[in-house]
């Protein structure tokens, strides 16, 4: 809401500097977004009168003027084509400041000029503010302003305060509402508006038209006045300037008056040409099936049965609170008007406006729910202004259809309870003073309050607390830290602590944490080779997305990790080690909400990264989480991954994730380096399997015996299977099996590989004898020969 300071001053004395005023308003809840100073950067620009005009001897387009500025006469050279002797012009003197720069004594083609005549552009003003300004050329004052007077005063250049009004305070979407808040904030009296309507036309409004509300749940009140002998013409300059300063374009006297009253009172108004209202009857009802209306913007609009419309006997003539209809519009020829001041239900106006894609100053006020008691004062102000401007003759009386009369709401005033809630010690007198200033009716005997009709937001005890706190000062409330309350343990859940373990382990492995967003495009499934009918393509779809790229909730984190790896690779970062702990969203049949599955994603390229480094990181994580029963199995069909360099992780037989090298085709398509490694693990499974209950085991007291075992086997055999077989036959003393070499090439036949293990044996209670170990080694070897056709090397 833009409020010109001079307009506010009609209703409240603001004597403090603007900076102090805006600060105080912000702190009492009317947040000031900014102050626009219309005269900013304009200094030493005064009213000058052209005494004489002569041609410039050396330039066709220049003229030499003598100008009177009251105290002296100056010689001014101008190129402006639109001036004549006797004109009053804004003149920037030597040393004047304009938004475009400073004015200096200058010579134009050899003739000295002691200043510059100004156009509205040079004064940084618009034709909305000064509609009488020419499109080109300098501004010429209408009338005869005082010579030498500062143009800022003459042109009423005001400071305009822009307030951010919260949705609960539609009463503050008005000059009067803001003036009222200002008065309480500054502790000065509010100057209540005094309105008198002369009703010169006589007669009785009810003889001209009638009003019927057929939808009382959507229209609580509809009032109208009739104005005869209307003369449509431009409104006076002062009104046009105030409207323009408040951000509204002046149109003609009647429209301007209705807008002026809306800004001043917060009550939107509408004027109909009464002669176009068929049957002279206003009917407020919901639209009928198939009805249409052409609104003032020239658009034909289909109406539905939810929409509230203003109709005459036969047809809709306006969409209630949203926009008037062309069929009842005021035009040059209008001589009798019906002024509407009504109260429409906020949600109805909001929905209708939204359906039509229309939002105006009027509808945005109605949406928030207005005061039914403001309908008549606003209508009267409108009538007063019409009389004041001579725009027409007001007929006696008001047509007032008030189907839901305002009921006063009596509330208890409980100072002790308010103090207990706020943690303050404010006296009852001080509270009463605040409420009275806010125009609450206070009964000091009964200790009750009645909020004013325009404060529809005051419903409960807490709302009263806010009023007291606002004017007592939020920042005067003494801070306390839940004094006297039970202390609580607080802390993280097991899941949250395990997430910390995961994050710390990843960082310990040298991985940097990333954050990617949860939206994705359905196209990413093709990018990572997800089969057409795969369930991964079944995603949560956003009905109002910000474009296709953000249209579904991700069901996999792979594309996001690849994108980040590619970004870094494209920027020539030689090595990347990344992880992310985030959710994927999997729709569940028959359930409103999807399953949100937390996923750990690891991504590597460059440096020492290879499959086994990736696997090592996963193993380190399993160890950190105390997970023992984990198994890696080769996986040839994980989409996006290299068929020969990918494994699935199983924990307690449950598939806990996939890790491997990215398929070269996918790497190329996503602009990732050819050797890129990614793991995706199901965090819930990891956490479920995690163990933190560690138990101390006695340190070994007897020496271990170590033996090496090198065998030759078929190339395609898995080392994990060999190790498992060794462990099975190792006997009770086999402590550890370590792989230390895998070799292919010279001295190993084609299609075979040499695999070497180091085995260590130890007994807890004695020193092992050589032959005990030898027996175990024989058993192991025999089993390997039998099961895998292994040969000792």
């Amino acid at each position: 809401m833009k409020a010109p300071v001079k307009w506010l001053k009609d209703y409240v004395d603001i004597s403090v500097p603007v900076k102090e005023y805006t600060e105080a308003m912000t702190m009492s809840g009317s947040k000031v977004e900014g102050v626009e100073d219309m005269g900013k950067g304009i200094e030493k620009v005064v009213v000058g009168k052209i005494l004489s005009i002569e041609k410039h001897p050396d330039a066709d387009k220049l003229r030499i003027c003598k100008m009177d500025i009251g105290s002296e006469t100056l010689q001014i050279v101008t190129g402006a084509p639109n001036v004549k002797e006797g004109d009053y012009i804004p003149l920037a003197l030597v040393g004047a400041k304009l938004p475009g720069g400073e004015i200096k004594l200058s010579k134009l083609r050899g003739v000295e000029s002691y200043g510059m005549m100004c156009s509205i552009d040079e004064l940084n003003l618009t034709r909305d503010y000064l509609p009488d300004a020419p499109e080109y050329g300098v501004y010429v004052f209408s009338g005869t302003p005082e010579l030498g007077a500062d143009v800022k005063d003459v042109l009423d250049l005001d400071q305009v305060v822009e307030f951010e009004i919260t949705s609960n305070r539609p009463d503050c979407l008005s000059i009067i509402g803001l003036a009222r808040e200002s008065a309480v904030t500054l502790g000065v009296p509010f100057k209540k508006p005094q309105v008198t309507v002369k009703e010169e036309a006589g007669g009785n409004a009810n003889d001209y038209a009638s009003v019927e509300i057929q939808a009382p749940e959507l229209c609580a009140r509809y009032a109208a006045r009739i104005v005869k002998d209307v003369k449509i013409e431009p409104s006076p300059v002062w009104m046009q300037r105030r409207l323009a300063a408040a951000g509204m374009r002046p149109i003609n006297n009647i429209v301007d008056i209705t807008n002026y009253v809306m800004l001043e009172y917060g009550q939107p108004m509408h004027a109909f040409d009464l002669n176009k209202i068929q049957g002279s009857k206003i009917i407020v009802r919901t639209a009928r099936e198939g009805e249409e209306i052409r609104t003032l913007d020239g658009q034909d609009r289909k109406l539905d049965t939810q929409m509230l419309v203003i109709c005459d006997e036969n047809r809709p003539v306006a969409v209630a609170g949203v926009m008037g209809g062309e069929n009842s519009e005021i035009t040059e020829g209008t001589h009798t008007i019906l002024l509407e001041s009504a109260n429409f239900k906020g949600s109805s106006v909001r929905i209708t406006g939204k359906k039509m894609g229309l939002r105006s100053e009027a509808s945005s006020r109605f949406e928030k729910g207005l005061d039914t008691e403001n309908v008549i004062p606003a209508l009267n102000r409108c009538a007063e202004l019409i009389e004041l401007l001579g725009a027409g003759k007001v007929v006696r009386g008001i047509i007032d259809c008030n189907v839901k009369p305002y009921e006063k709401k009596v509330m208890k005033l409980e100072p002790e309870r308010i103090n207990a809630f706020l943690g303050t010690d404010i006296s009852a007198q001080e509270m009463i003073k605040i409420f009275e200033a806010l125009e609450f009716e206070v009964d000091k005997e009964a200790m009750t309050l009645v909020p004013p009709s325009f404060r529809g937001d005051i419903l409960a005890f807490e709302d009263l607390c806010e009023e007291v706190a606002r004017f007592y000062g939020y920042n005067n409330i003494k801070p306390s830290l839940l004094t006297g309350k039970e202390t609580m343990r607080g802390g993280k859940t097991y899941k949250q602590r395990m997430e910390d373990v995961i994050t710390n382990t990843m960082r310990g492995c040298g991985l940097n944490e990333i954050y990617t967003i949860s939206f994705t495009s359905p196209k990413v499934f093709d990018t990572i080779n997800v089969p057409a009918d795969h369930s991964m393509r079944n995603a949560v779809v956003i009905s109002n997305p910000l474009g296709e790229d953000y249209s579904i909730m991700r069901t996999t984190t792979l594309p996001d990790m690849l994108r980040v790896l590619a970004t870094n690779s494209n920027r020539k970062v030689p090595e990347a080690r990344l992880f992310e702990l985030a959710y994927i969203y999997l729709p569940v049949e028959g359930q409103m909400l999807p399953d949100e599955k937390e996923t750990l994603t690891i991504g590597l390229y460059g440096g020492t990264s290879d499959f086994f480094e990736l696997k090592g990181i996963v193993e380190e994580l399993l160890s950190s989480l105390g997970i023992e029963k984990a198994e890696f199995k080769a996986e040839q069909n994980a989409f996006g991954f290299h068929p020969g360099r990918t494994a699935n992780l199983y924990i307690d037989g449950k598939m806990a994730g996939t890790l491997g090298e990215i398929h070269p085709e996918v790497a190329e398509r996503t602009e990732c380096p050819p050797r890129t490694y990614v793991a995706m693990l199901d965090v819930q499974i990891l956490i479920d399997a995690s163990r933190t209950d560690k138990q101390y085991k006695q340190l070994p007291r007897f020496p271990a015996i170590t033996r090496d075992l090198a065998i030759v086997v078929r190339d395609e055999l898995y080392v994990a299977d060999l190790m498992k077989a060794i462990e099975q036959k190792g006997g009770e003393y086999l402590e550890e099996v370590k792989l230390f070499d895998v070799y292919k090439g010279a001295q190993v036949p084609e299609g075979m590989k040499s695999v070497a293990f180091s085995l260590s044996f130890r007994a807890p209670d004695k020193t092992l004898k050589d032959e005990e170990v030898t027996q175990a080694m024989d058993r192991i070897l025999k089993n390997l020969e039998k099961t895998f056709g292994a040969q000792l090397r």
């Binding site: 943690g423 607080g490 940097n512 009905s543």
Partner: protein, 339 residues
């Protein structure tokens, strides 16, 4: 014989003085004290001495042997030390060369700030509550005193999945879910991802992070809210930080406030970061609206509470001087490595 012994001692000690290598010392030891060494030979010849002479010469020979052994030991110590010194000298490193380390990975700045926030509130006895991001409209709005068609719904710019399912525009639904499952006293913070229909630019992202807090107990006051926010602001921005509450309106709290902290750039005197205001808005807060308590199954006649919410990106950007929000989701390693 006596002279012979003295000569041997003198000669041996002189040689010891000159020895410069351990190997020579070993040779010398053998030459004098070995089985065939000079001193040994002399002692072997003692049989020919008279019984009066024998103990005297024996004593003397023993003294010589002790003197030689001491001399050898001393020389050995001297040589060993020289050797060690030489070795140390040869092993001098340029300690100014860079250290070798694999390097720890870094926390993302958002995690770093979230962790700080969590620590502050855990220290004050809060638990961390979590809830779904794809959430029912009921928990996202209705239970928060924002019925369907409430004007505040437009301002939220919510992403809808269906009529009754949304991407949560704040983490407040977690508060309601928590209230329904727990009885007061309640002290929780709810960190998490939230969604609003804002196009990506330097200060907006459709996906961002919030931390909200909720306290419900008997006799919780607005003073407790102010004190808590003050403790938090000092915890995260430093002891000198001041806070300022401005009255505002939120449907889910009453009274409501927007909360500013004294600018981290200038401390309040006004600078580019705070646009000359000296204050920076970082959170919204208020006393929990009775309708919200009721939706959580809590009787507002018995209990009161406060709630607050803040954007993690905004705080992170302020704390680290990050001027473009997109950097947080782009994940350039050269950016990530700075934290």
């Amino acid at each position: 014989m006596k002279q012979l012994l003295e000569a041997i001692q003198k000669q041996a000690l002189e040689k010891l003085e000159k020895i410069s290598e351990l190997r020579e010392l070993e040779d010398l030891k053998v030459a004098y004290l070995g089985k065939k060494g000079e001193l040994t030979q002399i002692l072997k010849g003692m049989g020919s001495l008279s019984s009066e002479e024998r103990p005297i010469i024996g004593q003397m020979a023993n003294d010589v042997r002790v003197a030689l052994e001491e001399g050898i030991a001393k020389a050995k110590e001297r040589l060993t030390k020289a050797l060690r010194d030489a070795k140390l000298k040869s092993e001098v490193l340029d300690v100014t060369m860079p250290g070798k380390v694999r390097g720890l990975g870094k926390k993302h700045p958002l995690t770093a700030v979230l962790d700080e926030i969590k620590d502050i509130f855990i220290g004050m006895g809060y638990e961390i509550a979590e809830g779904p991001e794809v959430e029912l409209d009921y928990y996202s709005f209705e239970a928060l005193n924002i019925p369907k068609n409430h004007p505040a719904r437009d301002a939220q710019d919510t992403f809808y999945i269906s009529e009754n399912v949304v991407l949560r525009p704040h983490t407040s639904p977690v508060q309601v879910r928590y209230m329904k499952e727990h009885t007061p006293p309640i002290r929780i913070i709810c960190p998490g991802r939230v969604y609003r229909s804002d196009a990506v630019d330097a200060t907006h992202s459709p996906v961002f992070h919030q931390v909200e807090g909720l306290v419900v107990d008997k006799g919780v006051t607005m003073g407790d809210l102010v004190g808590t926010l003050q403790a938090f602001a000092k915890g995260i921005f430093g002891e000198k930080t001041k806070i300022r509450l401005r009255p505002h309106h939120f449907p889910f709290t009453e009274p409501s406030a927007e909360v500013d902290v004294s600018c981290w750039g200038c401390g309040g005197s006004g600078c580019r970061i705070c646009k000359g205001e000296g204050w920076i808005e970082i959170l919204g807060a208020g006393m929990v609206h009775p309708n919200v308590l009721r939706a959580g199954g809590i009787d507002p006649e018995i209990y009161s509470g406060f709630a607050f919410g803040m954007g993690v990106e905004r705080i992170t950007m302020g704390k680290y001087g990050i001027d473009d929000l997109r950097l947080l989701f782009e994940n350039d390693i050269r950016f990530l490595m700075q934290f």
